[in-house]
């Protein structure tokens, strides 16, 4: 197993791990958004979905643990890479260079950290229901009511949208970049990979922000 450790902890191997776990997290986002869209169907649909999810605690927890480990591996390897990269590049240039690379590619750590802080808040908000005392008075699975109450607050709506936009920036570089890391690159399909990566990021951002916006504007009651 030493060979595997050596591979995964090399500069290219670390990137592979980050890319693989990153794509796994994108898969989760797609599934999560599909579930969220049930809010447009009606209160029964989304509350039913939440109830069904919790019906099989064993499967739910296996999935959750898988997700949590992917999430932590993604972050742990990123921290390792960032730390090593800082050591490799101890002194910056006195004159900042004109932009040779995209904003998204240079700010992956910043956008990632914002998304991380959002995820922590999001879990406290809707999974553990710690942020609003009103939630305790609701029935066990009334997701719909929780959303309606929360997204009346413009601060929460803004924070959700801001985080989702930064997630979009993160993914617009991250998804196509993972293809580069896997070595999947060719003039024939470079453009397809890049454009679909950006399209998916925008779709996810629009999809996720459509819910707080619709509730705030009173389109969902």
């Amino acid at each position: 197993m030493l060979w595997l450790k050596r591979i995964l902890f090399s500069s290219v191997g670390c990137k592979l791990v980050v890319a693989l776990t990153g794509l796994g997290l994108v898969g989760f986002l797609v599934a999560h958004l599909a579930g969220n869209f049930l809010v447009f169907v009606g209160p029964e649909a989304i509350n039913d979905y939440a109830r069904q999810l919790r019906k099989f605690p064993l499967i739910l927890w296996i999935l959750r643990l898988g997700l949590i480990s992917i999430f932590f591996i993604h972050i742990a390897f990123t921290i390792r890479l960032t730390r090593l990269n800082k050591i490799s590049n101890p002194q910056k240039y006195a004159v900042p260079s004109r932009e040779l690379s995209s904003f998204a590619s240079r700010s992956m750590i910043l956008s990632g950290l914002t998304v991380l802080s959002f995820v922590l808040y999001h879990l406290a908000h809707l999974t553990f229901r710690l942020t609003n005392p009103l939630f305790e008075q609701l029935g066990e699975y009334d997701v719909y009511a929780m959303l309606l109450i929360s997204f009346q607050n413009p601060i929460i709506v803004c924070f959700y949208i801001l985080s989702v936009c930064l997630l979009m920036v993160h993914l617009s570089h991250g998804i196509s970049s993972s293809f580069q890391t896997f070595g999947i690159k060719h003039l024939k399909y470079n453009k397809i990979v890049e454009n679909s990566s950006i399209a998916l990021s925008i779709f996810l951002a629009l999809g996720f922000s459509s819910i707080p916006i619709s509730i705030f504007l009173g389109l969902i009651q």
């Binding site: 050596r6 500069s11 050591i87 490799s88 590049n89």
Partner: protein, 251 residues
């Protein structure tokens, strides 16, 4: 033309360097950037001051010696050009120009603008070659190579090993340099035999020499004087994955 120069001066590896201001006048717009520095050095020598040390050799853009970061950009504002092939007409009269050495932990500064790039030599020594006895000149076309592949290998072979990729990278990653060598050799039948060993050894040396990892920002291909594409890095990654998981060799 006249310019105000801020040049990084550092008398040895240990000393903490700083910028020093110089004024140069009567610069012809047809002068190369290095000729402008030559003129400055003549003036400094005449005044009994220490001339500015910088690396240079062929001055025709093929040796990879010159290594100046000009106004924050490796090899200066002109794309696909080494600093020695950069001309003063690319600058505005009266412009202030900052000149710095490559900055990366793996390129320690010798003096002023000159850096020690021995780390690149060790990467090449660890696998950037083909160890077959080449014998006498083979018959033409005895090894058929499709034109598209020969062209791709040639694009990668254009690398002059100057180190601008690592200098421009926010992680000081020399991935484009390693990629150019790996891609060139592994594209061709002569280099295929040792492809797995080569990529594993070169990546291992790259990491040991203290270069960072690739974030796919593309800053390297933007400054590369030979305009080598980061598509070669994708090929490097592909070669690495194959060697790591399919071959009998270990990293």
């Amino acid at each position: 033309m006249r310019f105000t120069l801020f040049i990084w001066r550092q008398s040895n590896k240990e000393e903490k360097g700083r910028f020093k201001k110089y004024q140069v006048d009567d610069i012809s717009s047809s002068m190369s950037f290095l000729e402008m520095l030559d003129l400055l050095n003549e003036q400094l020598i005449n005044k009994n001051e220490d001339p500015v040390t910088f690396d240079h050799d062929c001055r025709e853009g093929i040796c990879g010696s010159c290594s100046l970061v000009i106004n924050g950009v490796a090899h200066g504002p002109e794309r696909g050009t080494t600093a020695c092939q950069l001309h003063m007409r690319s600058f505005k009269d009266g412009e202030t120009i900052h000149i710095e050495p490559w900055r990366a932990k793996s390129f320690p500064i010798n003096k002023d603008l000159s850096t020690n790039r021995r780390s690149f030599d060790s990467i090449i020594q660890s696998g950037g070659f083909i160890s077959i006895n080449s014998g006498s000149v083979p018959d033409a076309n005895s090894t058929p190579i499709p034109k598209t592949i020969a062209d791709k290998a040639m694009d990668a072979a254009a690398c002059i090993g100057c180190g601008a990729c690592a200098a421009a990278c926010k992680n000081s990653s020399a991935m484009l340099f390693v990629a150019a060598k790996v891609s060139q050799l592994s594209s061709l039948p002569q280099g295929k035999a040792e492809a797995d060993k080569r990529v594993l050894k070169m990546i291992s040396t790259h990491d040991k020499e203290g270069f960072g990892s690739c974030t796919n920002t593309g800053a390297c291909e933007a400054v590369c004087p030979k305009e080598i594409s980061i598509g070669h890095i994708a090929k490097l990654n592909r070669e690495f994955i194959r060697a790591a998981f399919k071959s009998d060799l270990n990293l």
